[in-house]
């Protein structure tokens, strides 16, 4: 039996964490810098090379061949066998906007494209609730499922505020993006970042990516795109900031992302207090029932 260091020391807290080092919290004394993704959706061309590269490298099985009618998105969403998902949103728009078709006529549209992925949260609900310890924090600060430990309880699936991780039906275990943990160990970049032709998916140390992203947002604002915003880059947000964050050109919910995700573990201390009180009341109720009248 082992006691999970992160579970006891750093993860149960009611207040936002600030810019913490998740690998250090997890018990790594020395570790490389935290690695992650900055996905700049303003330059995504919707080629889906990221989806293909991810499936090829990780031998992810096929999970449905459907024509959905959701613009060019036939993948539908992240899941146990989809670890990169390109979203397509067609909106009435005007010429000159990033993503605009530029036809300049009444039928002009703005076409948003975004490659969604596991956020590798600083405060990862999936990791917190995993009862077998299958989900772990790696030395790179990423979140990974150990498939030889997972017994498919499915708790992580309900805990993820982004709806990323899922249970593979035939296999029984939970699967998700590993941030190509096997490639990182050899000094390579993840398959999706390598395949992306426009560098929409940028891979590197998270600190560096956050600086780059802030500059890019300013650049877009100055160029007349006020809707550009970062999503998941703020360490003071509801998940402590994401290892994989985004530059979006519209509200998060337009892309299928939650507007204000908060890791469920933030409320866990209060939940346990209520459980303790309820347990005490059950005991008291038992006493009252047995001693509060005739037998």
């Amino acid at each position: 039996m082992s006691v999970d260091a992160a579970g006891l020391t750093g993860v149960i807290r009611a207040e936002p964490a600030g810019a913490v080092d998740p690998a250090a919290l997890a018990g790594y004394a020395e570790h490389p810098p935290r690695m992650g993704f900055f996905t700049d959706t303003s330059v995504c061309i919707g080629c889906k090379a990221c989806e293909v590269a991810c499936k090829e490298w990780n031998a992810v099985p096929e999970d449905g061949l459907l024509l959905t009618g959701m613009s060019y998105d036939n993948t539908q969403g992240l899941g146990a066998s989809t670890w990169r998902h390109v979203a397509f949103i067609e909106q009435p728009g005007s010429a000159g906007e990033p993503g605009a078709t530029g036809r300049g006529d009444a039928g002009d549209l703005r076409w948003l494209m975004s490659s969604d992925v596991c956020k590798h949260c600083t405060e990862a609900a999936c990791l917190d609730v995993c009862p077998t310890g299958a989900l772990i924090r790696t030395e790179f600060g990423t979140v990974v499922v150990q498939e030889d430990v997972c017994n498919g309880c499915g708790y992580c699936v309900s805990a993820c505020p982004y709806g990323v991780i899922d249970k593979r039906r035939d296999d029984g275990r939970a699967w998700k993006c590993t941030l190509c943990y096997d490639r990182l160990g050899s000094g390579l970049e993840p398959a999706c970042a390598k395949a992306c032709p426009t560098d929409s998916i940028q891979f590197g140390p998270v600190d560096e990516l956050r600086e780059r992203a802030a500059l890019r947002v300013t650049e877009l604002h100055n160029a007349g795109t006020p809707q550009a915003r970062l999503y998941g880059a703020d360490p003071a947000d509801g998940i402590g900031g994401a290892g994989a964050f985004f530059l979006l050109l519209d509200e998060p919910e337009t892309y299928g992302l939650p507007p204000d995700p908060v890791v469920t573990t933030r409320d866990l201390p209060r939940i346990w207090r209520h459980v303790g009180l309820a347990a005490a009341m059950l005991a008291a109720g038992g006493v009252a029932a047995c001693f509060g009248g005739r037998a």
């Binding site: 999970d4 579970g7 498919g152 309900s158 919910e253």
Partner: protein, 308 residues
């Protein structure tokens, strides 16, 4: 008529994943676990109060319920043969981990208590086991509330302030019902009173929950889950009436007991169903989060302007 909430979504697709837990296994595990824990509490009190038939019935009921509960939980795993991996770690951040260890301690205690009561051997050890099972049983009946509330499922998470009391009440009501079935009328008093207290806690918590959580209470009020939720409350109240009016009649008491059990199981099924509905429809995730974000921005703007 409340106006339709304005929000966009990605082609109406869910934001969070619907729970992969299956009915009837997981709601069954919730119901049976609650029943077992509260039965152990009743058994301990009944033993002290010299109601041996009630005590024995509650102990046997507890071990039977917890065995079925564990079987249901294991059956729902994607890799059932790996169920012991639950005991690899102890993680307070995971209610399922805490619960696994609770069950690992409670199961043998409940088993020993029942064995001693049925066979009559080792009465002192049996008493100790009964006390241990009662203490652990309070945790067994309530940790499952933490389990479902510690998720991103809107209807469950948002109700975390009431759910533990709802589960405790539902468990007590079920245990009272089992006691009414198992014990002769002369010894059924404690079971009846526990059922009343449990039902009161359950119904009060349910009302508070659905009134407090705003739009995410909709799945508890509408659709199949809403119907079941309401029906189980009504059935519980009726069963209590029958239990008291017919307290000298074996048949009426047994009918009330069976109804209380069925109502408690229905409550868990309803809560389970409501959770699935709330995860499936993106509005229950998006609209409350948008409101929260707007309120936070407004509050920050107030602070900012107050400083200037």
């Amino acid at each position: 008529m409340v106006p339709k909430a304005e929000f966009t979504s990605y082609y109406g697709r869910p934001v969070v994943k619907e729970p992969v837990w299956q009915a009837p296994e997981v709601p069954g595990y919730l119901f049976l676990g609650g029943l077992a824990g509260a039965s152990s509490v009743l058994a301990a009190g009944a033993q002290v109060r010299a109601c041996p038939d009630l005590a024995r019935g509650a102990k046997v009921g507890a071990v039977a319920a917890i065995s079925l509960s564990a079987a249901a939980l294991i059956a729902d795993l994607g890799r059932p043969e790996r169920f012991l991996n639950m005991l690899r770690v102890f993680k307070p951040t995971s209610p399922m981990s805490v619960g696994s260890w609770l069950l690992a301690a409670y199961g043998p205690a409940a088993g020993a208590a029942a064995m001693s009561a049925v066979t009559g051997i080792l009465p002192a050890a049996g008493t100790a086991a009964t006390a241990a099972a009662a203490a652990l049983g309070c945790g067994v009946s309530t940790y499952t509330a933490a389990l479902i509330c510690d998720t991103a499922v809107p209807a469950w998470h948002n109700g975390y302030r009431e759910m533990p009391y709802l589960f405790a009440g539902s468990a007590a009501s079920a245990a009272g019902g089992l006691g009414l079935l198992a014990a002769p009328c002369a010894q059924a008093g404690p079971a009846r009173r526990l059922a009343v207290l449990g039902a009161a806690a359950e119904i009060t918590s349910a009302q508070l929950l659905t009134r407090r959580i705003g739009m995410t209470a909709e799945p508890y009020r509408t659709g199949t889950a809403g119907l079941m939720f309401h029906a189980s409350e009504v059935a519980t109240a009726c069963a209590l009436g029958v239990a008291f009016i017919g307290r000298r009649h074996r048949a009426a008491t047994a009918l009330a007991g069976a109804t209380l059990l069925a109502a408690s199981a229905t409550t868990r099924l309803a809560i389970f169903g409501a959770g699935r509905v709330s995860a499936r429809d993106p509005k229950y995730t998006i609209v409350p989060q948008r409101e929260r974000r707007t309120q936070r921005s407004a509050a920050q703007a107030d602070v900012h302007s107050a400083r200037q």
